[in-house]
Amino acid sequence: MQQAKPSPSPKKKIVPSDRPYPIVYLKDVKRIYTLGNNRIHALNGVSLSIKKGDFVTIMGSSGSGKSTLLNMIGCLDLPTSGKVKINNIDLSKLDDDGLTAIRRNNIGFIFQQFNLIPTLTAIENVEIPMIFNGQSSEKRRRKALSMLKRADLPLEFANHKPNEMSGGQQQRVAIARALANDPPILLADEPTGNLDTRTGNNIMELLKQLNASGTTVIVVTHDPKMEEYSNTSIRIQDGEIIK
């Protein structure tokens, strides 16, 4: 039960094909926010395709639509128009439970503000995605510990609450949490934005290592120096891809 196979419509069979499909596929995606009489085109017809095992950086100035794009890929938001496919599954065909299943099993999300649950310890935060995946508590513990190890968190912090840890340590916990259900795709929205340069580089190194072991990594950043970690770079401006 690692890869999600949400099949909302059993009528439609996924036909196996020799040609490998892209793990992330967007076609003509628009996302329009309506604020009063204002219509904001956060994404204005974005098409892209990301292969399994890629390390992609999405660059662009503030307000250009990077987060909106990442949220589309992470099933946190749905496009106003256009098509989004994750692992060849068309998101527009899924109901809320279907989207949840994709998030749970295919996506690991890393945020700029870490977004840990303040009342839970590091290890408990990492256990959360596994709870929703129905893992037994014993298995959760073991897996959470190994993920924290993998994210290079010194293990004496395993029982610390987020406010007892540095920013870099919190982001490592967040990465361990993102890895908990072994997702094939890791998404990170400015993961180094709240960290000093050295810690930020360490986090990027970690993401690089995870990518080397097969995980597709997509990182949003406005720091041009991060580009060198990736093998593909996308530039976005005013909701459109310019490179």
Binding site: D96, R104, N105, N115, T119, A178
Partner: protein
């Protein structure tokens, strides 16, 4: 969505005890607010169950004192008739399913006694009854029953205590002295004959006291063999005696106990109604607490959804919290009710037997169940609301 989906099964819930852990933490995190909500439930549970117990105890204490008369009929002369004749009593004897027939003649008498200096007048009933029949109607506290034909008497507990009588002493009735040989147990209010304020003596002595009394009896008490036959026996007596004209009135004691049952059922319902209102108030306060709690935890809900929590998961988390709150508060309420009622009954009524009955405990259980249900119902809307939050909106919430 079925309840089974939300609470899959106790074992899997305990295995995934992180839910339980989360619920406990979230309740603790808002301890003041949680305690206030719990107090609402506790008061509601106490109200429902103690009101129920109160009504039930009232009912039990009254029906207890009528329990032993449920098997009797009281036959008295119909309006316009003076006495029940020996012939009518003979007709009653032909009716089937009768255990015993107790004819009684009675008359009233005023007696005087002194209490803390003052002279008090009191009314007593003087009964003519056979020794055997008296044994069927009342138990002795001390002494013995009078012998047939003797001039002795047995008195009720009320008279004995007013006149400070002990067996062997004499009382004077209308110039005649009677020796008290026995004192009856206190019996409380009765509808057949009032033993507490009665003086019982033989027919011979009664005739001496009231030489002008008419032949016949004032009352005939009929004890049936089986309480289920009471209506049939009553009908047959009326049929036999009142064939041509209305000579006697037959009155079944169970009519009284039945209507008392109704009265106390209404009292119980009323008291429980009051309890329900307080639970309703508690439910609203739970609703409020949980609603505030979902608002404050919006971001957390967003995080959980982002890492894979479904609507069902969120619903389960919040309902579990409400369930916890309900179980803890209701348990506290039930314990407080039982110990409180026990104290009150032990100290004031000095009789705890009515509390420890199945029917009283039923009201405690009822309060307990209602307490939990209220908490769950109050938590339902907030849980539903939390489960429907859009992950991105929830994540952005500060």
């Amino acid at each position: 969505m079925k309840m089974k989906d939300i609470f899959p099964s106790m074992p899997s819930m305990l295995k995934n005890n992180m839910y339980v852990e989360l619920a406990k933490r979230n309740l603790k995190r808002q301890s003041v607010r949680t305690i206030l909500a719990a107090i609402g439930i506790i008061i509601g549970v106490i109200a429902i169950s103690s009101m129920g117990i109160l009504g039930n105890s009232l009912k039990l204490s009254v029906t207890d004192s009528f329990a032993d008369v449920g098997d009797r009929l009281v036959v008295s002369p119909a309006p316009g008739e003076n006495q029940i004749t020996e012939r009518q009593v003979d007709q009653m004897r032909k009716v089937a399913n009768i255990e015993s027939i107790i004819p009684v003649s009675s008359s009233g008498e005023i007696i005087e006694y002194k209490k803390s200096g003052a002279t008090i007048q009191s009314f007593v009933s003087v009964y003519s009854i056979s020794k055997d029949d008296l044994e069927k109607l009342a138990e002795l506290e001390e002494g013995r029953y009078f012998k047939a034909g003797s001039t002795d008497c047995v008195v009720g507990a009320g008279i004995a205590s007013n006149l400070e009588l002990t067996p062997g002493q004499k009382i004077e009735l209308d110039g005649n002295k009677l020796r008290v040989v026995g004192i009856l147990k206190e019996k409380g209010m009765g509808f057949d004959i009032n033993t507490d304020s009665g003086v019982f003596t033989s027919q011979e002595m009664y005739n001496k006291l009231y030489p002008d009394a008419e032949e016949g009896y004032n009352t005939v008490i009929v004890i049936v063999k089986d309480i289920d036959n009471i209506d049939a026996v009553s009908d047959e007596i009326e049929e036999r005696i009142n064939k041509k004209e209305e000579l006697v009135t037959v009155f079944a004691m169970n009519v009284i106990t039945d209507s008392l049952d109704d009265v106390f059922r209404s009292i119980s319902m009323f008291l429980i109604g009051i309890g329900s209102i307080s639970l309703l108030v508690a439910g609203v306060s739970i609703l409020n607490v949980m609603l505030m709690s979902t608002m404050e935890r919006t971001k957390e809900i967003g995080i959980m959804k982002a890492v894979g929590a479904s609507r069902k998961d969120i619903l389960k988390m919040f309902l579990l919290e409400a369930l916890f709150l309900g179980v803890i508060a209701s348990t506290a309420g039930a314990i407080l009710t039982i110990s409180g009622s026990y104290l009150i009954m032990a100290l004031i009524v000095k009789n705890t037997s009515y509390l420890l009955t199945l029917s009283s405990m039923f009201y405690v259980l009822e309060g307990f169940v209602f307490g939990i249900a209220t908490s769950l119902v109050g938590g339902m809307y907030p849980a539903w609301k939390a489960s429907r939050m859009k992950p991105l909106d929830a994540l952005r919430y500060e």
